[in-house]
């Protein structure tokens, strides 16, 4: 069913039989060789990929390969060797090793390419690089010869002590923290790609081993710990930046985008309403905030305290939501999409035209309202640098913390609405509107509620965004932005929290880091939408209900989902 399976390369049965016994030793040899090569120099040219040219002092990217190779060795020893009894019955090592092999090979190919392209020719590749490449090849080939594993025990039944599970969660979160900090620090696009590949490899191997679903289960069981850990990690992030504000700027962009996407998730993911003009609500909040900000260009000469501005902005957005929702939510979903799109355009055009000539002077027309002063709450000025725990935190770090509070709020609203009478009502409306109505569910009221709440939260985010961006202008609020928000939800996983966060992060972060792509990014964005809808419409992180909704015909899936639900308490 899932078409995204790279490790499906299969050798003919006869080859496997003949050479099967070579599989294990070959793989082991491959892993060792990879490590050996990684301890050598890969590149003569020291500028490429961070310094990979020192013997016995591996650069970061080399360390990543060592990690993967070590994981492979652990898996191999789970089949035959010291770990066989404890780990063997649980892990699908063959599939894990095949994934690791494929990934390592891919990794080394990209390394060679990078050195070749950036470092003026493959001649720059030192023996170490070729050695690791060879090792990867060995591991790849060897893993293909390994026999399939059968009779594995279900990891759900693994009984591990509670403190161990919490430890695992904590370590994973810390790894994510440092990984993210490291990744953001990478300036070289090749390095970033390689790091992404590494992260994807770990995830894929974990998936293939069944470890990922085990992690999902312990995450569910220890939900509170997970949430706490996640927020701790997010909170600590600015402290890893050593005073540099550059990455924090990107981080705040990601957070605003993620908060807005999460709010849209209530409208689209929970209530199933297709809103293509959502950016207008964000814009309303932003414009209100700008107009009341006391900027030299502000058109309203009143500067209330920020908390009042927040309320006004959110309320204005919500009112707009109610205005646009009341007539249109009664009509079919397809029309709703176009109408909301039209409304988004109306908003943009209106902001464009309210320049005193074509309309009353409210929005300052095409130039927008620049020079918005920084937020001040009480005596805390967001523009100033503050020092906490000995680490200087600049302007963007200040906004970052505020946005963390915002996104926490949005997530709480989302989760609590989901598990409530309202949430059930929304699902019933998605499932069968007429039947829901016949059971007394207030279909129209629920739809309007979703719309209003979504608009309110977006307006909230907008009020902060205006100050953070220092300026508002109509061309920040074009349709394409609405499309991006929708894409974040759809790609990440509609109706899930983790999914939307992931989708938003990917969509906002990748263009920043993969600068060489920037010309083509919209092209790939369009293609990505088409491909995702074709092959994985439920998104990356699939909520069990969504899986069923998108794969209506799949009986096996329905049974499987129910089994899982019966054994594990329902999560978010």
């Amino acid at each position: 069913m899932n078409a995204t399976d790279l490790a499906k390369l299969r050798l003919p049965e006869t080859t496997v039989e003949k050479y099967g016994r070579l599989g294990w030793p070959a793989s082991l040899a491959g892993a060792v060789v990879v490590i050996a090569g990684a301890l050598m120099s890969w590149s003569f040219n020291q500028q490429v990929l961070g310094n990979l040219s020192i013997y016995l002092n591996p650069g970061a990217l080399q360390i990543l390969t060592i990690v993967v190779a070590l994981v492979a060795m652990v898996l191999l020893f789970s089949v035959r060797g010291p770990l066989a009894r404890r780990l063997g019955p649980w892990l699908d090592t063959t599939r894990g090793l095949r994934t690791a092999g494929t990934a390592l090979l891919l990794y080394m190919i990209i390394v060679l390419l990078a050195i070749g392209i950036d470092g003026n020719g493959l001649v720059n590749v030192d023996p170490g690089g070729w050695v690791s490449f060879l090792g990867a090849l060995l591991l790849f080939a060897g893993s293909r010869l390994l026999p399939d594993r059968v009779g594995l025990q279900d990891m759900e039944q693994a009984k591990l002590p509670s403190w161990f599970e919490i430890l695992v969660i904590a370590i994973t979160m810390a790894a994510i923290l440092f990984g993210a900090a490291y990744a953001l620090g990478l300036e070289d696009a090749w390095s970033f790609v390689l790091f992404l590949l590494f992260a994807a490899t770990i995830a894929a191997v974990a998936l293939r081993l069944g470890v990922l679903s085990w992690f999902g289960h312990i995450a569910t069981r220890n939900r509170k710990v997970l949430t706490l850990a996640a927020f701790l990690v997010a909170f600590l992030f600015p402290f890893t930046q050593n005073g540099s504000d550059a990455n924090m700027s990107i981080a705040t962009q990601v957070l605003i985008f993620a908060a807005t996407a999460m709010s849209l998730n209530i409208v689209v993911g929970l209530a199933g309403l297709l809103d293509l003009g959502y950016i207008a609500f964000l814009g309303s909040g932003a414009y209100v905030s700008a107009m009341l900000s006391g900027s030299a260009f502000a058109t309203i000469h009143w500067k209330p305290p920020f908390l009042v501005v927040v309320l006004i902005g959110a309320t204005v957005a919500m009112t707009l939501g109610l205005i646009i929702g009341s007539p249109t939510l009664r009509v079919s979903g397809d029309y709703l999409a176009i109408v909301t799109l039209g409304f988004g355009e109306i908003f943009r055009l209106t902001m464009f035209n309210l320049d005193g000539i074509n309309g009353p002077l409210l929005s300052n027309g095409p130039n927008g309202i620049p020079a918005i002063p920084d937020l001040k709450i009480g005596s805390f000025n967001f523009g100033d640098e503050h020092t906490l725990l000995g680490i200087p935190l600049g302007r963007f770090s200040n906004y970052y913390f505020l946005l963390l509070v915002l996104i926490a709020f949005v997530i709480v609203v989302f989760a609590r609405l989901n598990n409530s009478r309202i949430g059930r009502g929304w699902v019933s409306v998605r499932e069968d509107e007429k039947a829901a109505e016949a059971m007394g569910v207030n279909v129209f009221g629920l739809k309007l509620l979703a719309f209003a709440i979504g608009a309110f939260l977006a307006g909230l985010a907008g009020t902060i965004k205006a100050h953070q961006d220092v300026a508002v202008s109509p061309d920040q609020y074009i349709f394409l932005e609405s499309a991006f928000l929708l894409a974040a939800i759809v790609l990440g996983g509609m109706g899930t929290i983790a999914g939307v966060l992931l989708g938003a992060t990917i969509l906002k972060l990748l263009p920043e880091k993969l600068r060489f792509f920037s010309e083509y990014r919209l092209l790939f964005f369009g293609l990505l939408l088409v491909v995702m809808m074709r092959f994985r419409p439920e998104g990356l992180v699939a909520n069990r209900r969504r899986l069923l909704e998108f794969h209506e015909e799949d009986e096996e899936l329905a049974v499987a989902v129910e089994q899982e639900h019966l054994t594990v308490e329902e999560a978010i």
Binding site: G333, I338, F352, A483, L523, G526, V530, P537, F550, E552
Partner: protein, 313 residues
Amino acid sequence: MSQFFQQLVNGLTLGSLYALIAVGYTVVYGIVQLINFAHGEVFMIGAFGALSVYLLFFDGQTGVWILPLMIIGAMLCSVGVAVLMERFAYRPLRNAPRLAPLITAIGVSVFLQEFVRLFYDKIPTFPSAKQNIPFPQIDVVTGKALEVGGVTIQRAAIFTVAALIVCAALLWYFVNRTKSGRAMLAVSQDPDTSRLMGINVDRIIVVAFVLGAVLAAVAGISQGLQNANIDFRMGFIAGLKAFTAAVLGGIGNIQGAVVGGLVLGIAESMAIQYIPGQFGGSSWKDVWAFVILILVLVFRPQGLLGARVVDRA
């Protein structure tokens, strides 16, 4: 008074453009309940197709005999894109929940815009599409405007309206007098029964897409002739307004699309002229179309002539 007629003429011209594009939306929606978001791009690609034919074979000339060839070029490109779109993006999602094809359509739309923008100048001797490209001004259909009783009528405008009339006539003939046309009506009523009657529903759906594309191509050339330039973004707003026109006339209803387009065009022109104060004038013209859409959906969702859609619920 002549102002009124002037705006009427402007409105009919604009409306004819909308009508030509609207048919594509309405026909596809009537059959597969899909808002083909990327139909605006089909229109845009038609215009680029005509331009390409011109640049490849007739660069520098302006004889009116080139026009039919440009039309053919436009149609080939539009139809090609539409068929590919249907086959690879939409057909696999026939049974998916409504959200999936819509998102796909958005993806296709963005992809096509970017594709043209980035790669048009990779074809040898072609100009860059990153800004407006001048559209060839063909004799007879462009040039000195006609003056009739105080009303200025652009030649390109006459072409547009004439094109609509011809296309409408051919469309009527196709839908009512040919097998494929009637099959299309049948499928939009009840696809399952049509299948039982031996109609190849897949093929008919392709026919619907082709039909829309052909008319959109004509619209593309009209736009190019009228504005004397084209650019990769021209499909977006035109597409939205054409969809509004389709809904206005009654979604799924072909005559509705034509009527809706004309009505919308005239309403827009009149709004520019007659709405008093600051809100009149051309900077607000796009807004009115959307306002009309909302009003139609609230007060008469079946449109002026009545919708013709299969009730999926």
